[in-house]
């Protein structure tokens, strides 16, 4: 058996992708559940993505995009990621936190309005590095509709020795409705 046959594929998904699919129940989410099962994968989101999709206007708060998938076990919310953006990079030893800082810096360099809100964007990259740190037999696919973030996802994990990553960029964002809930988008086979 080759090394690639031993590897499990995890998919990290940004907020915009779930927004495109709509609230549960939706035909797109049903297609997604089926595709996740057929691709033998699971979907991960950082806590910040879960919060962005949560409706806090009801008691208790509900997440109409993610809660059903979480209850059914095919969507997983990561435990909290580093939160201290102000720590100097050279004082950090945790690769996950380092990755989030590097992603934050990279986004600041690439986009027009630096320091606005990149820390939460960077959590997608940090989660990828954490999954690599915690699982030796894993490869990761990220899904976002922000170009610079999509590039950061492919650029930064290899700095920590993790090359089994690819990053899917949805442009325009509504492309996610048809292209994301498919076995092809959730599977590793390279184009």
């Amino acid at each position: 058996m080759t090394r690639s046959e031993h590897l499990f594929t995890a998919n990290i998904v940004d907020t915009v992708i779930f927004r495109s699919l709509g609230k549960s129940p939706s035909p797109h989410l049903r297609s997604l559940k089926q595709a996740v099962s057929e691709a033998d994968t699971e979907l991960w989101v950082p806590p910040s993505v879960y919060r962005e999709l949560t409706n806090y206007g009801v008691e208790p708060p509900k997440n109409p995009y993610l809660d059903t998938g979480i209850e059914e076990g095919w969507i997983r919310v990561a435990t909290p990621l580093p939160t201290n953006r102000n720590t100097a990079f050279d004082q950090i030893s945790d690769p996950v936190e380092q990755a989030q800082h590097l992603a934050d810096d990279y986004l600041n360099q690439q986009i027009k309005y630096p320091n606005t809100n990149n820390w939460r964007d960077a959590s997608i990259v940090a989660l990828a590095v954490r999954l690599f740190e915690q699982n030796t037999r894993i490869r990761v696919i990220t899904h976002t509709a922000d170009e610079a973030l999509a590039q950061a996802c492919a650029l930064i994990p290899p700095e920590f020795g993790y090359d089994d990553i690819k990053s899917e960029y949805y442009n325009p964002p509504q492309k996610a409705k048809q292209q994301f809930p498919t076995v092809e988008s959730l599977s590793w086979s390279m184009k």
Partner: protein, 205 residues
């Protein structure tokens, strides 16, 4: 001879009577008026009967709106050799500056307002957050299509909720037909990336 004064630039280039100023601002709040102006702008030389077939208001309202747009100088009426009237739209910019914030109303923004029926989020943002926020969000969505901002940044810079921001992003991508025509996804891999900038960050430790 063209000349400028304190309040008028390019004066002297012929008559330029502008009356009916409320029509300019009505373009931002009256979807049907915006739709009619945009229809004329997109089809120079269009006739009134053709417009009646294109827009969602009565024949009487079309003629009333044509009169208002003409009085404001936003369209011009010309007569064909067969006696039918045709209409052309005039480009315009209406710039407002208040408390240091400058916002410019243009035909491009009016064309977006005209799409409020199929995309209710456009009216919702204008009504609940004001025109400056709408115009700002509009421009930032265009910047997003160029890769210059992320969607979270648009939400932060405009102070719109995440949900409203995502709805508006999707609507404006569709209205302006932004994004890649290729139905397949763009895939980035480590081999696609130049890591020079990151290397400098790491070696700075």
């Amino acid at each position: 001879m063209s000349y400028d004064t304190e309040h008028v630039r390019n004066a002297g280039n012929g008559p330029a009577m502008i009356t009916g100023l409320p029509t300019f601002t009505d373009l931002l709040t009256n979807t049907n008026l915006a739709d009619l102006y945009t229809a004329i702008r997109q089809s120079p030389g269009v006739t009134a009967p053709e417009l009646i077939d294109q827009v969602a208001v009565s024949k009487k309202t079309v003629y009333e709106y044509l009169h208002r747009l003409e009085r404001a100088g936003l369209i011009t009426e010309t007569e064909n050799s067969d006696g039918t009237s045709t209409y052309d739209a005039e480009e315009f910019e209406l710039t407002l500056t208040i408390r240091g914030i400058e916002v410019t109303i243009t035909p491009t923004l009016v064309a977006v307002i005209a799409q409020s029926d199929p995309y209710p989020v456009i009216n919702r943002v204008c009504d609940e957050h004001g025109f400056v926020t709408f115009a700002l969000a509009h421009d930032l969505v265009n910047a997003h299509s160029d890769g210059d901002v992320t969607i979270r940044q648009i939400a932060t810079l405009t102070d719109l909720s995440h949900g409203t921001t995502y709805d508006l992003v999707e609507a404006l991508y569709e209205v302006h037909d932004l994004g890649d025509d290729d139905p397949s996804l763009t895939t980035y891999t480590p081999d696609d990336m130049d890591d020079n900038e990151l290397q400098s960050e790491l070696t700075d430790e």
